[in-house]
Every structure is written in C-alpha cells, then in structure tokens.
C-alpha cells in the first residue's frame, strides 16, 4: 500500500511539474511530430490505410519519445536541482517513485498521438476508420504500460550516468528505426531484427495495426494476441531488470558517493 501511495504521489508530482511548465512537452514530442508529418508528405499519394499506418506509427513514436526524454531528464533534472540524493535516501525505494513518473510520461505521450490525429484528419483529410475499436484500445493501453516498463529500465540506467541527456538524444532515432514505427521491420537488415524483437514497442505497434487496419498484411507472424502475449512477457522482463538495476544503482550510489556529480 505504501508503495502504491508512492507511485500515486510521484505520478501527481510529475503532473504538477508538467502543468507548471508545459513547454517541456515540445522538446519531448517535436521529433516524432515532425517525422510523422514528413512521412505523411511522402505517403501523400498512398491510399487511406497506408496513411493510417503512418499515423499510428507517429502516435507510437510520440509515446516512445516522451517516455525516453522524460526518463532521461527526470533524473538529470533532479541532479541539476540537487535533489537526487534526497530522493534516493527516502525510505521508499526509488523505483516506485520513478514508476509513478514513467506512467505519467507515457500518458502525456498520448497527446502527441492526438495532435497527429488532428493534423491527419484536418490537413491530410485521412478517414479514420478503426477496424476493431475495443481491440485497438486494449493494445493501446497495454503498449502504454509496456513503454512505462521500458522507461523504468532506462531511468535506472540513467541514474548512474551524468550523460543521461546525451544518451537520451542518442537513443531516440535508433528506437524509431528498430521498432519499425514507420515501415515494416522486414526491410531492416536481418542481423538487426533480434534487437527489434527484444523491444516491447515493436510488438505493441504491430498489435495496434492489427486492430486498426482491416487489410494489414505486413504484420508479424504471431498476430494480434501473439503480439500482446510477447509484449507482456517482455514488459515483465523489463520490470525485473529495472528492479535489479535500481538495487545495483542504489548500492553503487551509496558506495561511490558521486550521485550528484554532473
């Protein structure tokens, strides 16, 4: 119960931070937003479902971009403000605090998907005919949770480095490429595919497309439910890794006493 309370408080705290200075949403989602618009320009001669394919990919990039940036910068900001040591020293394990933040950050990523949707409908005049709305919502929510779990792994790793900002910037495009947000991952070189398959968002966006597109033929072999099952297993793995990493980080931070160094 105490842990849930910590998650809720961290969630609320992150929300208050966001509303106090919402301009930070722009750096977090500008790349996915522009990349989707570029893709829509390239897809302009294509038919409705292909455009919807791009829009869904853009929404996914938005959620992912926000998770990544917020994970990286929530640690880096604490370091800048000089509050990181205090957060680590409280009796509640830091992972619950970061979990609350990660859930909020993934949720804010939905905003990007919404902006892209509005542009797609109003400017590009794309009809939004979702094939199966309940399955779409289910895949969407589970993908959001998976992203939050992945964000936890990154957050724990970022605690240890003063270069979290650089790593955050550096990881954005590799994930967009690796998870096939805008194109089927079959186009990628074969040796990169194990990496793509180890990422929850790869399965998440595939499941979302299975639910949304009526004639989705370039999907992964496991299909909608298979995608969700694999994503769930991966999310549990991320959680286990994150818990283990946070324990290591906690130990190392107390031993080396260089947590606040930047």
């Amino acid at each position: 119960m105490a842990r849930l309370r910590a998650v809720w408080t961290a969630f609320r705290h992150q929300a208050l931070h966001f509303f106090a200075d919402p301009q930070w949403l722009i750096p977090n989602i500008i790349a996915p937003f522009i990349l989707t618009l570029v893709a829509l320009m390239l897809f302009r001669s294509a038919s409705g479902n292909v455009v919807l394919y791009a829009i869904l990919g853009g929404g996914m990039m938005g959620m992912w971009g926000n998770t990544l940036y917020a994970s990286g910068f929530s640690i880096q900001s604490e370091r800048w403000w000089g509050t990181l040591e205090s957060v680590l020293a409280v009796p509640t394990s830091m992972i619950w605090i970061i979990a609350g933040r990660a859930i909020w950050n993934s949720m804010v990523g939905i905003l990007n998907g919404f902006f892209i949707l509005v542009i797609a409908v109003t400017v590009f005049q794309t009809p939004l005919n979702l094939n199966d709305v309940p399955l779409f919502i289910l895949a969407f929510v589970l993908t959001l949770i998976s992203l939050a779990c992945l964000g936890l792994v990154f957050s724990s790793a970022f605690v240890l480095t003063r270069s979290a900002g650089v790593l955050t910037n550096g990881l954005e495009f590799p994930i967009y490429v690796g998870t096939g947000t805008m194109f089927p991952i079959a186009l990628l070189p074969f040796w990169t595919q194990p990496l793509a398959f180890s990422l929850g968002p790869t399965w998440g966006i595939d499941a979302i497309r299975y639910a949304a597109l009526s004639d989705y033929s370039s999907g992964l072999t496991p299909g909608y439910w298979g995608d969700l099952a694999i994503m769930a297993v991966l999310s549990v793995c991320y959680l286990v890794i994150a818990v283990w990493l946070f324990k290591q980080v906690d130990h190392r931070a107390r031993r080396d006493a260089n947590l606040g160094r930047y």
């Binding site: 106090a20 200075d21 301009q23 930070w24 722009i26 750096p27 500008i30 790349a31 522009i34 990349l35 618009l37 570029v38 893709a39 320009m41 390239l42 897809f43 302009r44 001669s45 294509a46 800048w80 003063r162 270069s163 650089v166 910037n169 550096g170 495009f173 590799p174 967009y176 490429v177 805008m182 194109f183 089927p184 186009l187 990628l188 930047y262």
Partner: protein, 269 residues
C-alpha cells in the same frame, strides 16, 4: 586602435578554446565519438527505410540520403549553437559573462567555432554512410563542389543557430527553440521531399532557411555540378548566413536589454 581589433580577436579565440574545453569537461571523448558516429546514421536510416517503403517516384533513396546527410549538420549548428546562451543560464554563468566588458559578438561567435568543426566532421561521416551503407552513387560526384557546399552550409547554419541562440537570453530555456528548429528543417528544407509538396503559403519559409539552398546544391554536386553551376545557391546561402549572424547580434543585444530591464536573466523554471 590596435586594441579595438586585438581584444575582440583575443576574446573570440579564448571563447572558442573555452567552449571546446567545456564540452569535454562534461562529455567524455568516447561518448562524443559515439554521438558523432551514430547520430546521422540512424536519422538517415529512418528516412531511407521510409522512402524504400513508400516508393514515392519523386523521392529516391539517394534524394533522401544526401538530404539527410547534409541536414545532420543541424544537430550541432542548430541544436548545440542555439543552446549556448541557454546552457550559460543553466550553469549560472550568464550574468558573469554579460557583466564583463568583452565584446558580445566575439564571445558568442567564438563559442560556436568548435561546433563548426564538429559540424563538418558530422556531415563528412554522414556522407560516408550515404555512400557505403545506403548505396548512393558518388561516381560522378564533384567532390570539390560538395566540400564547398558542406563548408558553406555549416557556416550559414551556425549563423542561423547563433540568431536563435539570442532568444535563449530572454526565454526561460533555449531548449524548446533549439528542438523546434532542429527538426523543422526536415519539413521545410527539401531534405526528404521536394519543396513543391508544401502548400504555396509555406514555401517562402523554406527559402528563408539556408539549408534549403544547401540540400539543392549538395544534390547537384553529387550529380557532378561544378562550383560555378551552384554558385547562385551558395551565394544565397552565404547571404542568409551573414544576415542571420548580423540579425542575431542585434537580437542578442535587444534581448539582453530586455532581460536586464525585466530581471528575467536568471529565470529558468
């Protein structure tokens, strides 16, 4: 009289040296190299694979790869340079810099100098990827013209970044502006699709940005155009770069005045 020339030059040089030292004080050389080698690779890869998937007849893999290779200069010339004032503010050193009698132009242009070198290296690596990983045919390319285009684009984009940097003096953070202008070029500069795809009322924005001329000149250079063939594009690009630097200086002084009078210089959050 000699001091009027020597002092700004001295400030310029020391500012350039300091910027390089400051970069490596917080960023390990290994991480810097990783950034240098991976940043352009994945951004080019993203658009190349989108182009392969879309198969738009106007947009070949070479069109996208060359455009994005040149656009990679924006990561340093726009993002890093635009953040110069914002970073000073973040570190709490902006006021210390501004109360010194040193020439502002020398300080901030000097700060950007290392990024020009950084930018040239980034674009060089990006063109290497375009040729050897993404299969762009450079057999008929005029490398001298391409080098001139890269040099001019880096200069002009750094000037553009300096102009944007002046906003960081007044705003809470320059990060927002830096991010917007880093990526907006992908949409407006003809990097990924012809500018004619944009609505007519947006096209003037494209022609107010130096990268637009750079990408067109780079594609011409890869097709074998000589420097004379692209001289018009290079001249337009240089002109925009110079105007951006001058305008940036005026904006820098204006925003400095505004920040002083409104007491916002220290405002971060």
């Amino acid at each position: 009289m000699a001091d009027y020339v020597a002092n700004p030059l001295r400030v310029f040089w020391s500012s350039a040296v300091l910027a390089k030292r400051a970069l490596f004080a917080w960023l390990s050389p290994g991480l810097w190299l990783m950034q240098l080698f991976t940043m352009s690779l994945f951004s080019i890869a993203f658009f190349v694979y989108v182009a392969k998937y879309v198969q738009n007849p106007d947009v070949s893999v070479a069109f996208v790869a060359v455009g994005n290779a040149l656009q990679s200069v924006a990561y340093v010339s726009i993002f890093a340079v635009c953040n110069i004032t914002g970073e000073e503010k973040e570190q709490g050193t902006l006021q210390g810099v501004l109360v010194s009698p040193a020439n502002r132009f020398s300080i901030f242009v000097g700060r950007a100098m290392f990024q020009i070198v950084n930018g040239l290296a980034t674009v060089g690596i990006a063109f290497f990827y375009a040729a050897f990983l993404f299969g762009v045919d450079f057999s008929s390319a005029n490398l001298l013209t391409l080098a001139a285009v890269v040099l001019m684009t880096t200069f002009a984009m750094t000037g553009f970044g300096l102009m944007l940097s002046s906003l960081g003096m007044y705003l809470r953070t320059s990060m927002v502006i830096a991010n917007i202008f880093l990526f907006i070029g992908l949409l407006f500069n003809g990097v990924n699709f012809p500018i004619s795809y944009l609505p007519a009322f947006l096209q003037p924005i494209s022609y107010a940005m130096p990268m637009t001329y750079g990408t067109e000149a780079a594609r011409a250079a890869v097709s074998g155009a000589s420097i004379a063939d692209v001289s018009g594009l290079l001249a337009s690009e240089a002109l925009i770069g110079i105007v951006a630097i001058l305008l940036g200086y005026v904006m820098l002084r204006a925003f400095e005045h505004l920040a002083r009078s409104k007491g916002t210089m220290e405002r971060l959050y």
